[in-house]
């Protein structure tokens, strides 16, 4: 039963609303290390949102926090995550369990570590189905093979009998994707799904995401540190820096004419296009000076100020508010308003 964009119910409200999310990690000694410091954004149904962030931006914390799957020392301090109207952060454990895997699916980093090493692939997919449906064993077996068929054009049956360590990184990633779509979720969150893969495998996985997104009408959040992956793939891009949103807007605008100094600097630091100019070869790249800030020791003011080419006096005084630039493009920077 394929859900296409055409027959989705016309929801007035967004699919996902993250409001002022604060998450920190607390060490044994009680020391707090903030990871998300007031992140807010919205997502419409059927949309693909690319979350662009480097290490320390809090992107992986976001993926875990959405379904309240932070490690033992992680604490959600405040904020709300509204999914189809329900605040996930306040939901009862029973309700949360029904949503996990069935309405929202998260694919975490490192496919080789995300599968149980001693259970066969087919079983692991069946377990996802069994957690949310109560069909007969043969029906679930059928569905398992069907799901594997979606991600593996050939040998679905023999893959089902394998153990994770017998598969390559790309194959493991496909299995994770099959698990994610097993119960027909509306939202799939993928955290760096191509990070450890070869370029051609990377390309295959992205193509697979495209295909599935078309076929099942999925809303997708793709988290990555590589802007090039989002070009031509995401509808909108959210740029994260130091635990907050720096910029959000349509992909062509954020990647094509970025407004936030960080986004601009990030995109400029990448080597030029492959067919690019020969005289740029071996020239110095426009790298962003300095390092990502240590979130435990932040002074007042904009978090990017120390490394910003456009910094002003005001930037050290307080943090910039969100400025709406129109056409659902927003940025947190004093250059565009107070």
């Amino acid at each position: 039963m394929a859900k296409t964009m055409a027959n989705l119910p016309k929801l007035v409200s967004p699919l996902l609303q993250v409001q002022n999310l604060h998450v920190a990690y607390v060490s044994r000694a009680g020391q707090k290390s903030p990871a998300l410091a007031g992140l807010s954004f919205e997502m419409q149904p059927g949309e693909t949102l690319g979350v662009l962030g480097e290490s320390g931006s809090g992107k992986s914390t976001l993926a875990a926090a959405l379904l309240r799957l932070l490690p033992a020392n992680g604490k959600i301090e405040s904020g709300a995550v509204l999914f189809e109207g329900l605040d996930l952060l306040q939901a009862e454990p029973g309700a949360l369990q029904r949503i996990r895997g069935a309405r929202i699916a998260v694919i975490f980093q490192e496919p080789s570590l995300a599968l149980h090493p001693m259970i066969r692939i087919g079983e692991q997919i069946k377990d996802v189905l069994a957690a949310h449906e109560s069909s007969s064993r043969s029906a679930m077996r059928q569905k398992t093979l069907q799901l594997l068929g979606e991600v593996f054009p050939a040998d679905a049956a023999s893959i089902a009998e394998c153990y994770p360590h017998q598969l390559s990184g790309g194959q493991q990633q496909r299995v994770l994707i099959a698990q994610a779509i097993a119960c027909g979720p509306s939202l799939v969150v993928a955290d760096e799904p191509t990070a450890s893969l070869d370029p051609s495998t990377q390309q295959e996985i992205l193509l697979l995401f495209r295909k599935l997104r078309e076929k099942f009408g999925l809303s997708l959040i793709l988290i990555t540190h590589n802007p090039a992956l989002l070009a031509g793939f995401a509808d909108r891009v959210l740029v994260m820096y130091a635990g907050k949103a720096a910029e959000i807007g349509p992909a062509e605008r954020v990647l094509g004419s970025p407004q936030h100094p960080y986004t601009r600097a990030l995109l400029q630091s990448m080597p030029s296009e492959i067919e690019g100019h020969a005289n740029q070869r071996k020239s110095k790249l426009a790298a962003i000076p300095g390092e990502a800030p240590n979130l435990e020791m932040l002074a007042n003011g904009c978090r990017f100020e120390a490394r910003c080419a456009d910094r002003m006096e005001l930037c050290t005084k307080r943090e910039p508010a969100v400025v709406n630039l129109g056409e659902s493009h927003a940025v947190s920077c004093f250059k565009y308003g107070e």
């Binding site: 480097e54 370029p199 193509l207 990448m270 080597p271 296009e273 492959i274 790298a287």
Partner: protein, 276 residues
């Protein structure tokens, strides 16, 4: 930044290198894996050769053979005019000073409990520079060269960020004043903006210290930016070799074309799948 040594002898010549791994099966059957087959290329001094290939193509095996960590099954490696493949252990030690490796994952190749000063002076200790004062001075110079602030000298490696650790790995590799630096996917695990910083560092060091690089990667964009020449490997063989410009603009081999097409790029149009 041109190549002023067109007529100079290549720093490194690899001639028909082969590496075969043999293993015993359960019933005594022999299984052979051919990791490298007929690999030949040369690197000019103070230039960069990028070696591009996917996993299983043999790039890392090649790196290990060149760094004298593995013995090739057949073929020759000629470094600075002298053949090093047939040398014994003792003689190879001397050569190893000249060829250093930097790995992809600094978290695994650096002892996290050592301070950065210790890590960088360790090679000096191993190669017999006994004077402690001398070692420390040299280590501090190296840290400065790679852009690590002196305050961090006593900090332990585990407290460094990914980019800083990679700088540390480079400093450590430079301790013995090598001529050739083999960078095995050294940038692949880093964030994009950090890759730019380290790439700049590498270029700077190349011109100030006269280093030669073998840059192993699967990222064509960065290869295109850093390299003078590009070699493409697949399944143990070099399938294409030539000037960087030429390989990128007019790839001849199908594998090269495929890899170039698979490289994600910012300027992509909205709906076109990137199958070349």
């Amino acid at each position: 930044m041109g190549l002023s040594h067109d007529k100079a002898e290549p720093l490194l010549i690899v001639d028909n290198l082969e590496k075969v791994y043999a293993s015993r099966g359960v019933l005594g059957t022999r299984k052979e894996v051919i990791a490298l087959q007929g690999v030949s290329f040369a690197i000019r001094p103070e230039s960069t050769l990028a070696l591009v290939g996917e996993s299983g193509s043999g790039k890392s095996t090649l790196a290990f053979c060149l760094a004298c960590l593995e013995r090739p099954t057949s073929g020759r490696i000629i470094f600075q005019g002298g053949e090093i493949t047939a040398l014994d252990e003792e003689q190879q030690r001397a050569v190893r000073r000249q060829i250093q490796l930097v790995f992809q994952d600094p978290a695994r190749s650096l002892n996290p409990r050592f301070s950065s000063l210790d890590l960088v002076s360790e090679p000096l200790l191993v190669q017999g520079r006994v004077n402690k004062r001398e070692r420390e001075d040299r280590a501090r110079t190296l840290l400065a060269q790679v852009g690590l602030p002196q305050e961090k000298a006593l900090q332990r490696a585990e407290e460094f960020s990914g980019g800083q650790r990679q700088r540390l790995a480079i400093a450590r590799a430079l301790a013995l004043e090598p001529k050739l630096l083999i960078l095995d996917e050294a940038l692949s695990a880093l964030d994009c903006s950090v890759q730019a910083q380290i790439a700049n560092l590498l270029l700077e060091l190349q011109s100030s210290l006269g280093l030669t690089y073998l840059f192993i990667t699967h990222d064509f964009a960065m290869a295109g930016h850093l390299a003078d020449e590009i070699a493409v490997m697949e399944r143990g063989k070099v399938v294409e070799l030539g000037a960087a410009d030429r390989v990128l603009r007019q790839p001849e081999h199908e594998v090269t074309r495929r890899l170039i097409a698979a490289t994600p790029r910012l300027g992509a149009t909205v709906h076109a799948p990137q199958v070349g």
